[in-house]
């Protein structure tokens, strides 16, 4: 008997989105079951239904063969179901222990000391390293996720749902996560693992279910299938592999971004960027490779104006902007695809239209005398972004929070690229995107370069950097420790430099 059985689950979002269409799914005890599908396939919706956050319009859920009805996550938790969401749900100004105590089901009165003891106990047994006294805002994405997982494990969990847990992690952190997941499975628990990355299906899962356009296409033993087959099932047709990067020549073009002897502090007041120098020319795509936490975030924030430089200069289009405001830099033609898409890149409760306006409200085309907003024009621009970047949205006056994770990312990237920017600072532009969308976004970035934009691309995905960059710089502990031009890309050496080995 399967542990979980979903029968004919159907979920309709008015006016016209059938997010789940008669879904049947069986999950066995002690397996890691991957749910694979493109952006907007309905993965999060299905998981939220199993977790009681959404109620299906039709269909039934069986746990241990008994029919259950979940009206809220509380009900699902009673059956030992826990979910770690695509976006973090932690309170930044509280400590790890406080956050975990808040989410605990076991009792209302839980002295913090007791909670901390449990945290240590659980984190030791699964190898999840966290310090209960750290504040959430001090943590990296990987650490935050560990807290989320710990929070799920601390009550007796039987079924752990992870919604795209790897999209915000560094390759190294992904490895560590997988180790933890295997341990969790080996202790007899069941894991539902949502992803759109084929590679991960094979690394971690025992069985896999492919979703496409709200329907189950197939459920298979992972060992009995291969990447090509799954890709075909997931996308529906064979993906156009590789992209023809007809890159035009940029040499001899003017410099659009110049950074000179830049020093920047991090949140804890420690120097995180230690004397960085580089130039980006019009039409050039420059990659910054590096493991997260080596100063990339601080570098990007200094360039876009969100963080003060303590020493050095930043020039945009030959203008010194070291002390200029974010707005001044945006007005010079800077586009920024931020790392934190939900927290900074969109305003979830405002409409999709207002979210397109977010970085364009000062443009002459969208306003009368930069006072009155021309909503007609901005709606037009919204429709254009949505159709050009294939954002799946039913109604542009709905809050942005109704979009799926990948579609939010497409909306942000689309908004920034369609501004015809002169400089693009892109941080993980393809995070959370499926294969088709990722390669489309990469092509759009190359296009922007061909149109004359200079691109600074920060990513931990070396394959992505090698695919589209003209030049790659490796950042380690706040310094540029290596630089490679397209003719001399050496993935192996770059990898070593990222890890702090070699160079000099």
């Amino acid at each position: 008997m399967p542990l979980v059985k979903l029968k004919n689950i159907t979920k309709f979002f008015p006016p016209n989105i059938l997010a789940n269409d008669h879904i049947n799914l069986e999950v066995n005890v002690g397996e890691i079951h991957a749910i694979l599908g493109e952006n907007g396939a309905g993965k999060s919706t299905l998981m939220k239904i199993l977790y009681g956050m959404l109620q299906p319009d039709e269909g039934e859920i069986y746990i241990d063969g008994r029919k259950v009805t979940f009206r809220s996550p509380r009900d699902a938790m009673k059956y030992g179901i826990r979910m770690v969401h695509q976006h973090f749900m932690l309170i930044e100004n509280h400590t790890v222990a406080e956050n975990i105590a808040l989410g605990m089901r076991t009792s209302i009165v839980n002295p913090l000391k007791e909670v901390k003891r449990r945290i240590r106990e659980v984190s030791d047994s699964y190898g999840l390293k966290v310090d209960p006294d750290d504040y959430i805002w001090q943590l990296s994405a990987g650490e935050k996720q560990r807290v989320e997982i710990l929070r799920a494990l601390i009550d007796d969990v039987r079924i752990l749902i992870l919604d795209e847990p790897t999209s915000i992690l560094t390759p190294n952190e992904v490895e560590k996560l997988f180790e933890v997941l295997r341990r969790i499975r080996d202790s007899g628990k069941t894991i539902l693992f949502v992803t759109h990355k084929l590679k991960e299906v094979f690394q971690i899962s025992d069985r896999v279910t492919v979703l496409r356009k709200g329907r189950v296409i197939v459920t298979k033993e992972t060992s009995e299938t291969c990447e090509e087959e799954l890709a075909r099932l997931m996308i529906g047709e064979i993906a156009v592999n590789g992209i023809n990067s007809n890159k035009s020549n940029y040499s001899g073009n003017g410099v659009v971004l110049e950074v000179e002897d830049l020093h920047v502090l991090n949140d804890k007041g420690v120097t995180a960027v230690k004397g960085v120098n580089f130039k980006v020319r019009s039409g050039e795509i420059v990659g910054i490779a590096g493991v997260a936490g080596n100063g990339q975030r601080e570098l990007v924030e200094a360039i876009v104006g969100l963080r003060r430089a303590v020493r050095g200069r930043i020039r945009i289009l030959n203008r010194d902007v070291t002390k200029a405001s974010v707005l001044d830099r945006l007005k010079l033609g800077l586009a920024h695809i931020p790392e934190d898409r939900i927290g900074a890149g969109v305003v979830p409760r405002l409409s999709i239209v207002d979210n397109i306006l977010l970085t364009r409200y000062f443009e002459k085309t969208f306003t009368l005398n930069s006072i009155i907003i021309n909503y007609g024009k901005i709606r037009e621009a919204t429709r254009e972004v949505i159709s050009r970047f294939n954002v799946k949205a039913s109604d542009i006056s709905m809050p942005a929070s109704t979009l799926s994770g990948g579609n939010i990312q497409k909306l942000i990237v689309g908004r920034e690229l369609s501004k015809n920017p002169k400089i693009i600072v892109a941080v993980h532009p393809t995070y959370g995107l499926d294969i088709a969308a990722s390669s489309y976004i990469r092509r759009m970035i190359i296009d922007a370069g061909n149109k004359g934009a200079g691109v600074l691309l920060v990513s931990e995905d070396l394959d992505e950097l090698i695919e589209i960059c003209d030049r790659i710089m490796v950042m380690f502990e706040g310094r540029i420790v290596g630089e490679f031009s397209r003719e001399s890309f050496e993935p192996h050496t770059i990898g070593l430099l990222m890890a702090g080995i070699g160079g000099g």
């Binding site: 305003v347 979830p348 405002l350 970085t359």
Partner: protein, 354 residues
């Protein structure tokens, strides 16, 4: 044992049906509670309701009094709505109103105003007085991250003390027999009223126009857009290059200035002098007015009338039934609780189950 669990969660959108149901439920609950209160006091509830109704909405005089009292609530309320939209918690409308009253009163009493321009100058003075008073906490917040809840609240008391100092001291009138009043302002500095009422319509018109303009500002202008973004997410506003301090200062000037206009209206339209107790807490009541209007300036017009009618009705039972002022506070408070209940029911959903 059967366990009953109650969950509360925020609605994504509120449908019209939910709004109607929640309004009816809250009204019903309020009526029941008030009937009980009258019953306990041995007053015939029907008689009391009749008095309240006649005094507030059921007579020409009642309506005119309701409108009169709604004027300061409207001006303070729409300003606060804009500030709260940006999540700037201005609790200081009362003090800003008093400062507006002091400045406009001072101008009317002690400066030789050209009679034709007296009224515009008095309004302008009121606006500036309130705006400057709000500017202090605004700058403290924008530049030094000082929590505005504390500063605006405290500045209410400072403003009140200044007013008391003036009316007990240097500004006390010569012919007021020891009352804490100033002399009366010259007649050319007084606002015209709708004949037979106390409705000083210039202030009312300013209030209505402000509400419409602010509604337009919030929904259709770049400034309003910035206010909405800041109110939802400061991080997103930083990312978008929205200058937080400028918006904080702007919304404080708007809400302080409008509260100051309310003060000018009370001086030039109602009291015709400065005096102790010139405002019975309009600036505080306006906080509820703003929320009840869902922070929407157009709805604030309605909520200011509603709250004003409650205030007038409360006064009426005090006078005609002879209930103590403590009971009036209880009465007003009860109604406010049920108004907030309505707000809560329409914004959140409650799930009860076993």
């Amino acid at each position: 044992m059967v366990k009953i669990r109650i969950y509360v969660r925020r609605r994504v959108r509120t449908s019209l049906k939910v709004k109607i149901v929640s309004a009816s439920l809250s009204t019903l609950a309020a009526v029941v509670a008030i009937v009980l209160m009258f019953h306990v006091l041995g007053v015939d509830p029907l008689y009391a309701f009749n008095r309240i109704y006649m005094a507030s909405l059921g007579s020409y005089y009642g309506i005119s009094e309701t409108i009169t009292k709604s004027i300061p609530l409207l001006l303070c309320g729409v300003g606060l709505a804009v500030a709260y939209k940006a999540k700037v918690w201005n609790i200081g409308a009362e003090g800003q109103l008093l400062m507006g009253a002091i400045v406009s009163g001072g101008l009317a009493l002690f400066t030789p105003l050209p009679p034709q321009l007296a009224i515009p100058i008095i309004f302008l003075g009121g606006f500036i007085g309130g705006a400057l008073w709000a500017l202090i906490p605004a700058v403290l917040k924008a530049k030094f991250q000082v929590n505005e809840v504390i500063t605006t609240l405290m500045m209410n008391y400072i403003a009140e003390r200044i007013l008391l100092y003036l009316v007990y001291g240097p500004w006390r009138g010569k012919e007021v027999w020891g009352f804490p009043f100033t002399s009366r302002i010259p007649s050319y500095a007084r606002l015209p009223v709708v004949p037979g009422t106390r409705i000083h319509y210039p202030t009312l018109i300013i209030g209505l126009v402000s509400a419409v303009l602010l509604f337009f500002m919030l929904s259709r202008t770049t400034i309003g857009f910035k206010v909405r973004v800041i109110g939802e997410s400061i991080r997103a506003s930083n990312y978008a290059g929205i200058e937080y301090s400028k918006i904080v200062i702007l919304v404080m000037i708007i809400s302080g200035g409008l509260a100051g206009l309310a003060g000018a209206g009370e001086v030039a339209g109602i009291q015709h002098m400065l005096r102790k107790g010139i405002s019975p807490g309009y600036g505080f009541t306006a906080i509820i007015v703003a929320w009840l209007g869902n922070l929407n300036p157009l709805l604030v017009i309605a909520s200011s009338l509603l709250i004003a009618s409650i205030l007038v009705g409360g006064d009426a039972i005090q006078i005609s039934i002879g209930l103590s002022s403590a009971f009036i506070n209880l009465f007003n408070g009860t109604i406010l609780i049920f108004l907030l209940l309505n707000y809560f029911l329409s914004e959140y959903e409650i799930i009860v189950r076993r």
